[in-house]
Amino acid sequence: MKSFEGVVTLHGDETTVSWQPDGGGFVMTVGGRSIVAQGRQVSTGTYIVTVPGQEPVRVVVSRDGQQRYVTAGGVTWELSLRRGIGKARPRNAVGDRAMASPMPGVVIGLDVAVGDQVKKGAVLMRIEAMKMEHAIVAPRDGVVSALHFRLGDPVAAGAHLVELSDEEAAIEAKGPSQPDKI
């Protein structure tokens, strides 16, 4: 039986998935779980998908290169699908979401301290989960204003890890509370 592998990226979080045909449907394996899925195409890009324990869902998919838009129930996920498991290209930092933990895991490296000046792209922290290491990189130049976890701390998916402030913003933030004292 032929099986396939690929990497799905959502909000910068990469998930490795493998899948193989199984009868009329397919089995996908993700994060150590195997899920039997069924589906049929009802028109171009529109599918009725069934996964265990759920009613069938109508899903619309568009593609643009590796980019995917997947809509179901009014919600659209913007993802990418890269077939094969090669080296990922360095991902672009996108705002502060880049400084949230992409997955539940453990802090295995602190590369900066509060007060450090960092350049865009600098590694701030490293998280490990499922034997995969993820680097949390600075989405922009700035000053580390807070580290919310210590070495060895467990972190939840989506947990905000690092605060980065640019100096101008820090000064501006102090502004409004003071003018009455001038």
Binding site: K2, F4, G6, V8, L10, H11, T15, V17, W19, P21, G24, G25, F26, M28, V30, I35, A37, G39, R40, Q41, G45, Y47, V49, T50, V51, Q54, V57, V59, V60, V61, S62, R63, D64, G65, Q66, R68, Y69, V70, T71, A72, G73, G74, V75, T76, W77, E78, L79, L81, R82, R83, G84, V94, G95, R97, A157, G158, P179, D180, I182
Partner: protein, 511 residues
């Protein structure tokens, strides 16, 4: 004074996007030919394709095209248009444009330029309305601006009070004062801020309405002295002063208050001898006290909810009034039936601070069905750019009750699929499911205060992943079939996996 009937044969739409489409549709019903004017960026837009004639009037930035009065008038002359509809935004509330159009011997579909001027200045408009006994926000703007005097007047108004700069804007030089003791410091701070920002430290007072609602009354006047209201719209769901969801009737008005506020709308319109379609905006306090805010002398973005709930066509009515015809209906013939809701579909990212999102539309599927209307200006393949308004379109539904309309809107949003840019569709859907919406317990600042960090797509559900892989399989099956040159019909219903072959080898994974 009666004006003779001046039939319009060809109408130029001095606007773009969904409102240009809306006006063109009305003209088609009336047998009026249409002219679109557009920037070079809008060359292949829906509204340009729909118009009978199209004239390019310049480059993408509005000041080089949609705001060029001279070029728009040239286009009118060149095409022989005898009327111009300004839509909303751009030149719609520019008295100079109205005058230039009239001087060119072309009909301006809108109020008299004098009326636009009269309502254009907020302070002057409020004075006009106060003189006409339309309630306005109490305040103090007298000559004596000494701090002690301001404090005295603040006590008379009753706290909370808003301290505002005479030349203010954008919240600069503005302070909300809740207690008498804070008054001197607030006045000093606001004045300092105003002096720094506008070169003038003068500040005045206004009663501050806490948790206000935004209710507006649709009015329509003709050249025969008739003036009616077409009831109200509730527009309290705003984000940074941009309306997000509107509905009609307002769930927060009693029948008695509705009558009074609509009557005040007509009173306001009559005070300026209003001709055409206009909107009188009120803010309504928690006790049902209401105050004139401003008058919009044009068609509103949210006009469709009024059209659905009252069964009228406001754009057709505008054009008839502009031709010198009397209003199509009397006040007694207008009533509200059912409940209408409008959701504005914006190209913005609610999960990322509502930043505007741009790109090419890979897909734009519009829902249809009983009681569902979509006013839009985009279609699949169009580019959404930063140059123009981020609104892609408007989804409007009509149901027997507010609850029915809400359910209908949720179901309609589920079928509105926009791919290629990020949109607020999931956010709108989320709002409609909240208790605060269901019980209509909200105010104009609710959205600004409550939705920081909202995210709908944090996790990757199994069905999303399954759809992703299924789509990939179908895509490659099609490619393999095409490559083999022998499309096999039977394989289609067997699912994508049967005919896959070694697609990894064929396409190498590099897209």
């Amino acid at each position: 004074m009666k004006t003779p009937i001046r039939p319009i044969r060809k109408l130029l739409v001095a606007n773009r996007g969904e409102i240009a489409v809306r006006v063109i549709l009305a003209c088609r019903e009336l047998g009026i030919a249409t002219v679109a004017v557009h920037s070079d960026k809008d060359q292949s837009s829906l509204f340009v394709a729909m118009a009978d004639e199209a004239v390019c009037i310049g480059a993408a930035p509005p000041r080089e095209s949609y705001l060029r009065v001279d070029r728009i008038l040239d286009a009118a002359r060149a095409t022989g248009a005898d009327a111009i509809h300004p839509g909303y935004g751009f030149l719609s509330e520019n008295e100079g444009f109205g005058r230039a159009v009239e001087q060119a011997g072309v009909i301006f579909v809108g109020p008299k330029p004098d009326t636009i001027a009269q309502m254009g200045s907020k302070t002057a408009a409020r004075m006009t309305m106060a003189a006409a006994n339309v309630p306005t926000i109490p305040g103090y703007q007298g000559d004596d601006r000494r701090p002690e005097t301001l404090r005295e007047h603040a006590r008379k108004l009753g706290y909370p009070v808003l301290v505002k700069a005479d030349l203010g804007g954008g919240g600069k030089g503005m302070r909300i004062v809740h207690a008498d003791a804070d008054m001197p410091a607030a006045v000093a701070a606001a004045s300092r801020e105003a002096a720094k920002a506008f070169g003038d430290g003068a500040v005045y007072l206004e009663k501050y309405i806490e948790n206000p609602r935004h209710i507006e009354v649709q009015v329509l006047g003709d050249t025969h002295g008739n003036c009616v209201h077409v009831f109200e719209r509730e527009c309290s769901l705003q984000r940074r002063h941009q309306k997000v969801i509107e509905e009609s009737p307002s769930p927060s008005l009693s029948a008695e208050l509705r009558q009074r506020i609509c009557a005040a709308g007509v009173q306001a319109a009559r005070a300026v001898n209003y001709q055409g379609a206009g909107t009188v905006e009120f803010i309504v306090g928690p006790q049902g006290d209401f105050y004139f805010l401003e008058m919009n002398t044009r068609l509103q973005v949210e006009h469709p909810i009024t059209e659905l709930v009252c069964g009228v066509d406001l754009v057709v009515a505008q054009i008839k009034v502009a031709q010198g015809q009397p209003l199509p209906w009397t006040q007694e013939e207008i009533f509200q039936r059912g409940h209408a809701i409008e959701c504005r579909i914006y190209a913005e990212d609610p999960e990322n601070g509502f930043l505007p999102s741009v790109g090419r539309l890979l897909r734009y599927d519009v829902p249809f069905g009983p009681g569902i209307r979509h006013d839009g200006g985009f279609q699949t393949g169009d580019e959404v750019s930063v140059v123009y308004d981020p609104m892609l379109g408007k989804l409007i539904v009509l149901g027997e009750t507010r609850e029915v309309a809400t359910q209908k809107m949720i179901a309609a949003l589920d079928r509105l699929v926009v791919h290629g840019v990020r949109t607020n569709i999931a956010f709108l859907r989320h709002l409609l499911t909240l208790d605060a919406f269901r019980s209509a317990d909200f105010h104009t600042r609710w959205l600004d205060e409550s939705f920081d960090g909202w995210c709908a797509t944090q996790h990757l559900p199994d069905f999303v992943l399954a759809a992703l892989l299924l789509d990939d399989a179908y895509h490659h099956r099609d490619q393999v079939t095409l490559a083999a040159g022998s499309p096999n019909v039977n394989k289609a219903w067997q699912g994508p996996w049967v005919s896959l072959g070694d697609w990894r080898g064929t396409s190498g994974g590099g897209e």
